[in-house]
Subunit: 444 residues, 2 copies
């Protein structure tokens, strides 16, 4: 009997192992880079031909990774392909495809299933497979395992199935794929052993957990924690606003408590591919067990209301100046979903822009990271980024500050804007309590 575990472990040891990364996007590219940096061969698979061609021409499709970095990966043997039959050239397969929600807020595992279907004919004894996509507890067992078993492979004996959630945080300068501890769980003890060995080559530190369900839950809980804490401060923002207290001053001061408090700051809503989406994967699965996820739903509701809250604040502020929103021109500043990224996925800024447009306002935007409003699944604006100059700022009746990129010129806006609706606390009340320094600033 062939000892598949020992074979793959020795391939890992001597770095002759070939990794496959399925889905080369915000998660897959940094991961492929970490593998490449570890001195192992890695092939990136994607169904997007354009993206694959770009990668093979050393063009990075994401802001965090530079073209030269892709070039270096290629020099070290990286290649991208749309040919899934090449799965048979690989030893350790890692799936990093998107797991969005359907329009009815149900988990959409289409990309996972499509990947498994595409690679199933090329699965073979001795391989390992890890899912990194965020998903409901039980996915690895209930969705992935059957593809492998149906192929006639025996999990834990001649095939090693693992769940290891990605923890990417685009724009985070303190941590990258290599330095963030990696949760790893195998379907069996042997699967765990292989998974830990493979990831140990790539990242600094591994956190083995007892089951794939536990590992799936870990990732959801991390993002639920964020969603709920942001929902809480967004609710507190509304309460503070009613009481004429600046929530940002409150959070700054509370953050000086050296134990038992972690600051989260409010904003115009939540965006990105994780926080607005992942929690509802648990909501959906929990129904099967007859249990409820009330914090998740409350956070979802409150966070989803924030763009309307911002537009209402703007409308009332214009109204106080004798202006109708429908007769006003508004510049939305910062439309990527968070600071210093170019990612527009689920950005609440787009919802603000749509609400403004629907209210009859003239809307434009300025974002140094988003030179042209991108094609999106459900949103359409035929706009390019307005340059932030004194003249341009003065053209508008109001600025709505939605994402506080580092490189924006906040002093210029303060000097030249007729009105700033600040959703990010960039202009703390405590710093200028009497609004003396130029623009009228409204916190929203």
């Amino acid at each position: 009997m062939i000892d598949h575990k020992s074979i793959i472990k020795s391939k890992i040891d001597n770095k002759s192992i070939v990794f496959a990364v399925f889905g080369v996007g915000y998660v897959g590219i940094p991961l492929a880079q970490a593998i490449s940096n570890a001195g192992c061969k890695v092939i990136g698979f994607d169904i997007d031909e354009d993206r694959v061609d770009k990668l093979n021409s050393s063009i990075s499709p994401i802001k965090q990774i530079k073209d030269e970095e892709i070039e270096e990966m290629i020099l070290n043997g990286f290649e991208a392909t749309t040919d899934f039959s090449r799965t048979s050239d690989c030893d350790f397969l890692i799936i990093c495809v998107p797991t969005p929600l359907s329009l009815h807020r149900e988990p959409d595992l289409t990309a996972i299933r499509a990947t498994m279907q595409s690679i199933q004919p090329y699965l073979k004894p001795g391989q390992g497979l890890a899912l990194e996509s965020t998903t409901w507890p039980g996915t690895t067992n209930e969705v992935l395992k059957p593809y492998i078993v149906d192929r006639g492979l025996s999990i834990g004996e001649d095939f090693f199935l693992v769940y290891s959630p990605e923890r990417e945080d685009p724009g985070n300068v303190d941590f990258d794929t290599k330095s963030v501890p990696k949760i790893v769980a195998g379907m069996t003890a042997v699967c765990s052993e292989v998974g830990v060995a493979a990831y140990q080559k790539i990242v600094n530190s591994i956190v083995p957990v007892s089951s794939t369900q536990t590992a799936e839950m870990v990732k959801l809980v991390e993002n639920i924690h964020r969603s709920v804490n942001i929902g809480l401060v967004n609710e507190l923002k509304k309460i503070c606003d009613a009481m004429a207290i600046d929530i940002f001053d409150v959070i700054d001061a509370a953050a000086t408590k050296p134990f038992g408090f972690t600051p989260y700051y409010p904003g115009p809503g939540i965006g990105g591919h994780c926080i607005p989406i992942d929690p509802f994967y648990l909501t959906w699965k929990a129904r099967e067990y007859g249990v409820n996820t009330r914090f998740i739903e409350l956070a979802g509701e409150i966070n989803a209301e924030m763009p309307k809250y911002v537009v209402d604040k703007l409308s009332m502020s214009l109204n106080a100046r004798g202006k109708a929103l429908s007769k006003s021109s508004v510049l939305c500043v910062g439309i990527a979903y968070k600071r210093d990224v170019d990612d527009m996925r689920e950005s609440p800024s787009v919802t603000v822009m749509e609400l403004l447009k629907a209210s009859g306002a003239h809307v434009e935007y300025s974002d140094p990271n988003v030179p042209k409003f991108p094609k999106m699944r459900t949103h359409k604006f035929d706009l390019v980024s307005v340059e932030l100059t004194a003249d341009n700022i003065e053209r508008f009746d109001a600025i709505v500050l939605l994402t506080d990129h580092t490189e924006l010129d906040y002093e210029l806006m303060r000097k030249h804007a007729a009105l700033i609706v600040d959703t990010r606390g960039k202009y703390r009340s405590s710093a200028d309590p009497d609004n003396l320094s130029g623009a009228n600033i409204v916190r929203a």
Copy 2:
């Protein structure tokens, strides 16, 4: 015109200032100690004669402060009194009285009002007064200020009114009154200046905030944050339990994420004088402004349900063993509200004991910090702590572990208990997945 500000500031500088602390309990005693350690005279006021007598005889009424420490304070000039007329001997008055909830969950400021009434005749020009009790935003302005103004004093000129929330954390060995940064806000800029000067003598670091309302909100937000995060993990515990996942393993693993996640652990509910109470001060005040505190109410609801959840888990576990709860004897281990304290206020353990008693179970308890079940406002058990010996443990059909004091012998319980219902994750599933090591352990 007398420059009262300069006079009190120079008294602070040369340590001739006399402090008064109203309410010598969990907050007031450590504060008086910090003042005494700073080399200033301090008088402790209380309406409880017994407590005052004890203090004057060097007997500490709280576990965290030893008798010898009180003795040392007395050697340095500390004294306690029930005679509020002695307020006129003092320069800087600090109020640390309890702010509980009424039976209808409304703020009960009786102790603050009673203190202000008692001291009002003795307020005089040149004094400062700080409120430290946790309360709704606006209390200093709406409740305290009138007593001072009605006395004919002029705030910011000949009297200095300040709000500075206590941040005591009994049982915390890393931080004490002196080392926790102190939030200070004055009713006027001059009040702030005096408040900052006074507290600077006592603690290491001061965080001035812009208004007393902001400072009042800071303290509430700190405790709301805790209440909501504990509520969230308590809800997640129920969901994990339904899915046969150990929430403690999940939180341990999530806590390895080096950013964006802070671990909170579930339990049998929440206790103590802060977390179950303070958030509803905001709920009450928010109604005045027509805004809602939905996270606070959801957390309150879920946390309040936990004792029943624990009892249900126990009942079903006994049932699975063919036993009725009403025919069982149950030992509740750890009944103080949190680890390594003796404080029974709002302890969820008492609710568990009452639910057990109401279900007909024979209930006893063991807690090294609570040798005799204390007199409580709404609870009555005529019990003393059962010593945790092998024989005693074996007398019971089940142990419910409610508070995980450090000094408890967990191995002894594991070896000798017929059944342990563990609400604190002391017995992680991952450490013994097959429950092989003795007792049957159920997570609740």
